[in-house]
């Protein structure tokens, strides 16, 4: 009797322990709706085969909705998400607040040293890797090789702004609805201001001086904005003040743009024959410069971070390590082809001879390497970030200035007025926020 009782008790304990070992941990991942993230959701079988004890619930949202939602959740320690997709703007700010779990203890085979230095640098706060990059991008010139040839010009690998202007003039044929250049005009800190801030770096402009005093009243910003307006008003498409990435992508794919300077990720779209009418006529070049030592390209990455409030940190780390690993890149290459591998995160990808055959691979890497978020401008500045300033106030400031510049492009104000208003508004906000004493 006693033996039977003990045996039953032992079996119960063993079963309970086994059950606990097999218990499934469900993690919730918040992410943006872009091609790479959707592709990953279709490749989850590989993760489940390796980690049958972890289940992943996806919450996919539009970028701005996601940003607001995860910011609220992480700031209030709401605990709704175990993994968040965050940009290079949020990562250093949230990392400084202690809101993100350090990823310094990822397994050795993760090979953290393989991450591209420019990208890794933007995600490291006080020696801690606070998010792991899923894909990285810069910006570059995408141009129509046939129109360039017709204009009798040859695009250099590293063009100047003066060449871009000449080429835009030569390629424009408004009667045939072909516009020499398509650039962002839609207002927003991540829309026109991403482009204009990066462009201003190459003109020697900066948002703030060492004392956080706004610099919109200085000559380099006047040169930047006047050059941009001149380019767009003469050679840009009509209604450009409402054009963002998607609108310009549609125009380029329909053959209406001679050149388009935008995210390197666009290269895979414009060379995709299924969607682009000019897929076989696209060339790539570095973003332009003015000979001042800085190019007009930005640096951005979508990264996976774990909020400090998560109750499932171990499972979340396992997922992050898988999603940003070398093995995942190989998995995408095997299932979807090399052109669809998430770009811009690992050196080993660019050393791979197969990946080197992808037409935009080299230019993407060169563009990423040409950006330096810690020294973004010609002069020294007190902030980090190429196309943004990594301070919490920038989202509001960037959008406010973006609206003023977008209005100047729409013709409802002059460049001088827009700059004067930007100077006054940003000075007021920075004083209120305590940066200007």
């Amino acid at each position: 009797m006693n033996m039977t009782y003990r045996a039953m008790l032992g079996a119960t304990v063993a079963l309970t322990l086994a059950g606990a070992a097999l218990a499934e941990t469900t993690i919730t991942v918040a992410t943006v709706n872009n091609g790479d993230m959707i592709r990953m959701q279709g490749l989850m079988d590989d993760f489940y085969a390796k980690h049958p004890d972890i289940k992943v619930d996806w919450v996919t949202l539009e970028e701005n909705v996601l940003r607001q939602k995860v910011t609220t959740d992480i700031a209030t320690k709401g605990g709704q998400f175990d993994v968040m997709t965050i940009g290079t703007y949020e990562a250093p700010i949230w990392g400084k607040q202690g809101w993100l779990v350090s990823l310094n203890d990822l397994p050795a085979d993760y090979d953290v040293d393989d991450l591209l230095p420019a990208i890794r640098g933007g995600l490291t706060v006080d020696g801690n890797l606070v998010a792991a990059p899923f894909y990285g991008e810069s910006s570059m010139v995408m141009y129509r090789t046939d129109l360039m040839e017709k204009a009798g010009l040859t695009m250099p690998e590293a063009p100047t702004w003066a060449f871009i202007k000449d080429a835009a003039a030569a390629m424009t044929d408004k009667d045939a609805e072909i516009y020499g250049i398509c650039l962002r005009g839609k207002a927003g800190w991540g829309e026109n201001m991403a482009f204009l801030t990066a462009m201003s770096n190459s003109f020697g402009a900066k948002w703030f001086d060492a004392d956080w005093k706004p610099q919109f009243d200085q000559q380099p910003w006047k040169d930047t904005l006047n050059f941009y307006l001149d380019l767009m008003n003469n050679y840009g498409p009509p209604g450009a003040s409402s054009n963002g990435f998607n609108e310009n992508l549609a125009l380029f794919q329909q053959g209406k743009c001679g050149m388009w300077i935008d995210a390197t990720v666009a290269a895979s779209f414009v060379t995709n024959a299924k969607e682009s009418t000019v897929a076989d006529k696209v060339g790539f070049a570095l973003a332009p410069d003015n000979g001042l030592g800085k190019r007009g390209n930005w640096l951005w990455a979508w990264n996976l971070g774990i909020p400090a409030g998560s109750q499932k940190i171990d499972a979340a780390k396992t997922f992050v390590a898988w999603a940003t690993s070398k093995e995942y890149l190989a998995l995408v290459a095997e299932k979807e082809g090399w052109a669809n591998v998430p770009p811009g995160t690992r050196s080993s990808l660019y050393a791979n001879p197969e990946y080197q055959k992808v037409p935009f691979a080299k230019m993407t890497l060169d563009s990423i390497n040409a950006a330096d978020p810690t020294h973004p401008t010609v002069d020294e500045v007190p902030y980090v970030g190429v196309q943004f300033v990594a301070i919490p106030e920038f989202q509001g400031l960037g959008t406010m200035v973006g609206q003023l510049f977008s209005a100047a492009l729409a013709g409802s104000s002059s460049a001088d007025d827009a700059l004067a208003q930007a100077q006054a508004a940003v000075t007021q906000e920075m004083t209120r926020a305590g940066y200007i004493k």
């Binding site: 943006v32 939602k69 959740d73 963002g244 998607n246 969607e275």
Partner: protein, 276 residues
Amino acid sequence: MARKSSAGKTAAVTIAAWTIGFLIFFPILWIIILSFKTEGDAIKSPLAVLTSGWTLHSYAEVQERSNYALHFWNSVVLSLGSTVLALVIAIPAAWAMAFVPGKRTKDLLMWMLSTKMMPAVGVLVPMYLLFRDLGLLDSRAGLTVVLTLINLPIVVWMLYTYFKEIPGEILEAARMDGANLRSEILYILTPMAVPGIASTLLLNIILAWNEAFWTLQLTTKAAAPLTQFIASYSSPEGLFYAKLSAASTMAIAPILILGWFSQKQLVRGLTFGAVK
């Protein structure tokens, strides 16, 4: 002659009404058209969009990627639940304001309406903290209460306007016949105000169905309604217009059908009392 001129006027008004109606409906029509196109065709010029082939591909992909049934069910529960709850609170409140007004009734009504003027994002963090502490994040119960509260001022106002049109003498007569308060509201007032209540109900369902701030902020998965279903297909980097249109069509179709079938009731309710 007069008849001819009157017929001409009617025709002109009819054409104008149809034109305005078409212009208002056009964006929705365009979404529906794009949802039956490939991503490549969806970004072409309007004429090329109309002449290109038709496909159900986007619907198939959306169906495969998302749990439409769950989002749909959440939308139904949230909009119906919040509407019923709002009516239960608003009918007695509107009765009191319409038939036994106090000195401050008008001020009270204005104050209720003024709460609608505050930007929702202003109370996002306190609301989020409350929901977190009460364990209501991503729950249908919590969101039902929020939707009830944000639509309550409009519901009370609409019902108050309808109730004001009902002669108080009828209620007095009922009271003299021995009807208590409950019977008065349930058997006299409510049946007389049915068109008004019905239109309030329909309008509130539409408002709750379309609410896209709190439903996005306070839910993640389990309680997420169709607004989140649409938001998951919008992308600033990548042209997914056909899929976004398919998701939007699937999200608005139920409320569009409801609106179509109940338009008579809706119009009758909204113009109730206007000609008196």
